[in-house]
Subunit: 395 residues, 2 copies
C-alpha cells in the first residue's frame, strides 16, 4: 500500500468540512441534555401503524411486490406522481420523485447553476442549501429575510445595479430558521423579477403542510412559472427516513433533470415509493388527517415553548408566535449578552439548541447571532418546559 | 410565462441524450416479444416472503420503526455495515452504504476523477459507467477485455508511452457485457500498476455473488489496496428496486465521499436499510441460501440458452458457457452477416436483445458489433427456447 490522499478531484477537495451547524448538533455537553436541535417530526406523529398496514399489503400483492423490487421509471411511480401533481395543481409530467428535499436541491443546483455563478440566498439561510450549492459554486448574494420573507426589493436593487445571478433560493413557508412566511405579494414580485432577469427561483418548501395559524400565501404562482423549481419532500410529514420527495419542474427542465439522474442514482427506491404510494393513495383523506394530527401536536408544542419563555424569561426575547413549521427564532433583547457564552452555559446546564450565527449567509451580518433557533417538534411539552427552566438558569 | 430552456448549467447541457443501449430497451417491435434485454433478477428469485416477514418485524418493533423513519448516519446503518464489512474482510469504517451500484459509481467518479481527465475503461464497456463518467469527463482510454478480462498489459504500455489517467474502470466478475472474469494474476497486476502510477481502480462488482461454475478469482487484492474503490450492490440479489448498495473505500476516501453525500442526498433511505439489515443479519445463513437458490436458477437458464443455440443455430455463434452472472455474449461466426439487419428481423419475429455495438467503448473497434448480448436471468427455460427458435427463423 502507498499512503495517498492527494489525488482527489478539485470538486472533492473543495467541499468544506462540517462546521457550526453540524458541530453544535454533535455536541452532547451534559448527560441527558434536552435537544432542541433538529427540525424533525415528533416520533408520536409518525404513522407507524398505517405504514405497517400499507407495507403488508404491498408484499402480499404479488405484482406490486415484484414492481417494488425491480427497476422503475426515473420520473417516479405513476400513481404517486399523479397524487402529488393533483395536490400541486400541475401536470403529472412536471413531477420528478426525488430522494428527499436535499436531493431535490442538489439536482436543481446541478441543473441550473453554472460553476462559479452567483446565487441569491435567504439571509439567514438554511446551511444545508449552501452545502448543496458548494458542488457548483460558493458565490452567494445574501438577501435579508424580513417579517414577510425574502426581501425582493433588495434583490431588485442589486440586479438593477448590474449584479447577475443564476438563481435565487428561498424557503417560503415557515422559514428555516427565521420561522416567517413569504407574503403572496412578494411571491408574485419574486417570480416577476426572475422572469424579467432570466434566473431560476429554487423554492424550498418542506414545511408547507405544517400550518397551524395564519393564512396560506399560496404556491400556484411558483407552479405556474417556468422560472420556479418547487422542491418538496415527505420528510417533515411521513418522516426523514423515507428519503422520498419531489420536484415540481418547469416542463423544459424535466428532461435535463432526468438525464442527470440517469448518471447519479437511476431512480428513487421502488420499495419506498411502493409503500408511500399505497399510504397516500389508498384513502384520499388519510394524508390530510395524518398531517392535521401532527400539526395539532406542533401547535401545542409551539404554544408551550412560547408561554414558558414568557413565564421564565420575561423580556429576555423578542418572540413571534409561529404560524406553522418546526422552529422558533426568538431574538435576544439584551445586546450586551454574549450568545456564545449563553450557549455554553445552557449546554452545561442540560439544554442545547442551534446558535443563530450558524445561519448567517453573510458572515458580516451580526443580526442572526442575536437569535436562537429552537426546534420544538420532537420534544414533549414537559421537556419543553424543563428546557426553558434550564435556559433561564443559564441567563 | 416566458419560454426558456437556455439557462442550463454547462454540466446539464453536456449530458448526452439516451441512445443505443436505452433505445433498444425501449423498442417493443412485436407484440409479446421475448425480451432478453436487462440484467435483472428473475422475479421467482426475489425473496418476497422473507422481505414481508422482515418488514413486518421492523414495523412491529417500536424503536426500530422510529429509527427507520428518522434521519440516519451518512455512512449507513451500523449492523448492515458490519455485515457487509465481514463479507468483504475489511474494517466497517471503510464501508459506505449507497443508493445502489450506479450511485456508487457516480460517487466514485465525482470524488476521484478530475474534470476533463482521462479514465481507462473496459472495451466493451457497461454503457452506464460512461454515463456516470460524463458528469466529470468524456475522456476515455478504451482497454480491450480479453478472455481473462481487462488487458492490463495494454494499459501498462499506454502509461509507459506517457498516457495519464485518473482512474481505470472494470467489471471483474462476470463482465457486463463480455461475461468473462478477470484472472487473479491480472487483478494483482492491475492494482500494482495503479499503485505505481497513482491512479484509482473503480472495481464494479454487481454480479460477484452469482457464480455457478469455475473458480472465484478473489477480491482481497482490491479490498487491501488504497488505490481500489470496490463498488457493489444488492441489485442483482435482493433486487434493483431497493436502491441499496455499498462502497468498500480506501480509508482516506471515506471522508471525501461522505462530504459529497452531505451535499447530494444526505443518506440512503433508513426504511430500506432497516429492512435489508433485518433480512441479512436475522439469520446468518439466509443470504447465502437465497443467493444459492437464485444462482441455481441462473445456471439452469444459461444452460438452456446455450443448448438451444447449439441445437437451433449450430455453428452460427462462437459461445463460451457462462460461469456466472446474467449474460451470454456470443460472437457471430459469419462475418458477412449484418448484425443490425439481424436485430431488425429478430425483433420483427418477436425476440429482442442488446446489440453488441452499443457496448463498444472505442467507436472504431468493430469486434463488439459482432456480438449479441443475451440476458437470460429473467426469462423461463420455455421462453428462452422459444426465443432461440424465433432467432433461428431470423437468420
Amino acid at each position: 500500500m502507498t499512503a495517498t490522499g492527494d489525488r482527489l478531484s478539485t470538486l472533492a477537495r473543495g467541499l468544506s468540512a462540517p462546521k457550526g451547524f453540524v458541530d453544535a448538533s454533535l455536541t452532547a455537553p451534559a448527560v441527558k441534555a434536552i435537544r432542541l436541535l433538529g427540525g424533525i417530526p415528533a416520533p408520536e406523529a409518525l404513522p407507524v401503524e398505517a405504514i405497517a398496514r400499507a407495507s403488508a399489503q404491498l408484499w402480499q400483492d404479488p405484482d406490486a411486490a415484484i414492481a417494488s423490487l425491480q427497476y422503475s421509471p426515473a420520473h417516479g411511480f405513476a400513481a404517486l406522481r399523479d397524487w402529488i401533481a393533483n395536490r400541486e395543481g400541475v401536470d403529472p409530467g412536471r413531477i420528478v420523485v426525488t430522494n428527499g428535499g436535499m436531493h431535490g436541491l442538489s439536482l436543481s443546483v446541478l441543473t441550473v447553476v453554472e460553476r462559479g455563478a452567483t446565487v441569491a440566498v435567504d439571509d439567514p439561510v438554511f446551511p444545508g442549501f449552501l452545502w448543496a450549492l458548494e458542488v457548483s459554486t460558493t458565490g452567494i448574494l445574501p438577501v435579508p429575510v424580513e417579517a414577510d420573507g425574502f426581501d425582493v426589493e433588495h434583490l431588485a436593487r442589486r440586479l438593477a445595479a448590474g449584479e447577475r445571478i443564476a438563481a435565487a433560493y428561498t424557503v417560503p413557508d415557515f422559514h428555516n430558521p427565521a420561522q416567517v412566511s413569504l407574503s403572496a405579494a412578494k411571491r408574485q414580485a419574486l417570480i416577476e423579477l426572475a422572469e424579467r432577469h432570466g434566473f431560476y427561483v429554487i423554492v424550498d418548501n418542506p414545511y408547507r403542510e405544517l400550518r397551524f395559524a395564519g393564512r396560506d400565501q399560496g404556491v400556484a404562482v411558483f407552479n405556474d412559472s417556468d422560472r420556479a423549481i418547487h422542491v418538496n419532500t415527505f420528510t417533515k410529514t411521513l418522516g426523514p427516513g423515507w428519503r422520498v420527495g419531489w420536484l415540481v419542474l418547469p416542463a423544459h427542465l424535466v428532461d435535463p433533470v432526468i438525464r442527470l439522474r440517469n448518471r447519479l442514482d437511476v431512480h428513487t427506491s421502488s420499495v419506498t415509493q411502493g409503500i408511500v404510494e399505497r399510504l397516500v393513495t389508498g384513502d384520499n383523506q388519510w394524508f390530510d388527517r395524518m398531517v392535521g394530527d401532527a400539526t395539532a401536536l406542533y401547535r401545542e408544542r409551539a404554544g408551550v415553548l412560547v408561554d414558558a419563555l414568557h413565564e421564565h424569561l420575561p423580556g429576555a426575547f423578542e418572540i413571534q408566535a409561529p404560524e406553522g413549521g418546526l422552529f422558533l427564532w426568538p431574538r435576544l433583547t439584551d445586546d450586551g449578552l454574549d450568545p456564545a457564552a449563553l450557549f455554553r452555559r445552557a449546554a452545561a446546564n442540560g439544554v442545547v439548541y442551534q446558535q443563530g450565527e450558524f445561519f448567517a449567509a453573510d458572515p458580516r451580518q451580526r443580526s442572526s447571532a442575536r437569535h436562537l433557533r429552537f426546534a420544538y417538534s420532537d420534544r414533549t411539552p414537559q421537556e419543553l418546559r424543563e428546557a426553558v427552566r434550564r435556559l433561564a438558569q443559564a441567563f
